[in-house]
């Protein structure tokens, strides 16, 4: 650990990121440009989230990383090990015990508290990017509050599919001003965006940081006759029986066998530890997956 400055980044870089975070909190939903650094992992592996986490970590923190809800995927494990090594912080897989949670594409099922910070890894921070490729134009559209194009996109969804087909990275409007991409979380998670914890979003390749302060007003875009709907697979978790969590569909064999399991592994584990058993689940034993 002594080979690195605390939390890997040098102090000048951390100051620059910290100033960007403060402005991001002062202008919720606005993407603050920052001088993103090369990190010892490829773009697309969470370099933005890692830089934001590095700027926020203190030695007393307990750090958790999830990738699509799971604590045990390659991305989550390697980022957790990165900060164990460079910051010497404690790590955990339990949502309630973590003070900082870095996440890729999910919000934990368990409600977060005022003492927690949720750091998102963001691939494309600009919600208008796939509608307008020019950064000059999208920046102008944000400054003029010109979001008609986004509503046209959602309307085209309805005219083609009969419903708003956008299932993830569902655009939201923050405090009645900025349209924001909540990162590719399933729209099931959108209602949780108004929460007690501080939410920070880091996009490394695109060099943007944005934020949502606690209890910030976050509204998913919709139409009066096609209101926003948070959807999930119409099933219970096959391991823990949860009917309120977001589910992954897992293909089991070549014969069409499949099961639905909680995408939030810690939520599923804690429910099984509490004695809940799903349709295909076995009773929980400590230490066994």
């Amino acid at each position: 650990m002594s080979d690195y400055n605390f939390a890997y980044l040098d102090e000048q870089t951390k100051r620059m990121i910290r100033r960007a975070i403060l402005k991001a909190l002062a202008i919720p939903g606005y993407q603050v440009p920052f001088a993103s650094r090369e990190m010892p992992m490829p773009y697309g592996w969470g370099t933005g989230g890692v830089q934001v986490s590095a700027a926020c970590l203190t030695p007393g923190d307990t750090f958790k990383v999830i990738d699509q809800g799971a604590d045990d995927t390659t991305n989550a494990v390697s980022i957790r090990k990165f900060f164990e090594k460079t910051a010497g912080v404690a790590t955990t897989e339990e949502t309630a015990r973590a003070s900082i949670i870095q996440t890729r594409h999910r919000i934990p099922e368990e409600p977060l508290t005022e003492d927690q910070i949720l750091v998102y890894q963001v691939p494309i921070p600009e919600p208008l990017r796939f509608l307008e490729p020019s950064e000059v134009e999208t920046r102008k559209m944000h400054s003029l509050e010109e979001y008609g194009l986004m509503h046209v996109k959602l309307y085209e969804d309805i005219s083609q599919h009969g419903a708003i087909a956008t299932a993830y990275a569902y655009p939201v409007k923050v405090e009645g001003r900025y349209v924001m991409d909540p990162s590719p979380i399933p729209k099931f998670d959108n209602p949780k965006l108004r929460m007690a914890a501080i939410q920070l979003f880091g996009a490394g390749r695109e060099q943007r940081i944005y934020a949502l302060p606690p209890y910030c007003e976050v509204v998913s875009l919709d139409f009066e006759d096609h209101p926003f709907e948070a959807t999930r697979a119409d099933h219970d978790c096959d391991l823990c029986g949860a009917s309120d969590s977001y589910l992954d569909e897992v293909i089991m064999d070549d014969a069409g066998g499949r099961m639905f399991v909680c995408s939030d592994t810690d939520y599923c584990r804690s429910r099984r530890a509490a004695g809940h058993v799903g349709a295909q689940g076995a009773p929980y034993e400590e230490g066994r997956p």
Partner: protein, 189 residues
Amino acid sequence: MEALALQGGFSDASVEAALAFRAVMRAMARPGTVEHVAGAVPPAPLSAAAGVVMLTLCDPGTPVHLAGEADCAAVRDWITFHTGAPLVGRERAAFAVGTWPDLLPLEGYPMGLAEYPDRSATLIVELNVLEARGARLTGPGIAREVALSLPETVAFQANAARYPLGLDFVLTCGDRLAALPRTTRVEAN
């Protein structure tokens, strides 16, 4: 430069700056919350909290404006030695520090641009009193409402009316600080 200017910085920069930043971030994310900070001993008339904020956030990339009594040789030397921040007039400032009367009028500071509202100044306001009573605050970061002793309300209302442009404030008193981003709606009580 006096030898005094060389003292009073962080003794363990990466850890003390991390703890201080977390306090400033909590304050900015939850307007009205009063946080304690430690680690800096700046020369008078700067408060310890103002010193901590400057050591945590200022560097050669952030022009600093010293307003009124804060613009003295001891403070100038201390900030130059510990942060390397250039000292400038209010129209170029990324950070400004001083008492509320010394910082006024607010019109002279960078308010941000329509396409880059983040390019605005952060004012560190030195107060004699900082407590959870007085003006009523509502807005992002506040569950219902909180109270905070502000030096006045009209200037903060005018600042919030410019949203998304505007200034952000860190209010300091001794070793304590609170923050008031441009999004906070302020009403006199």
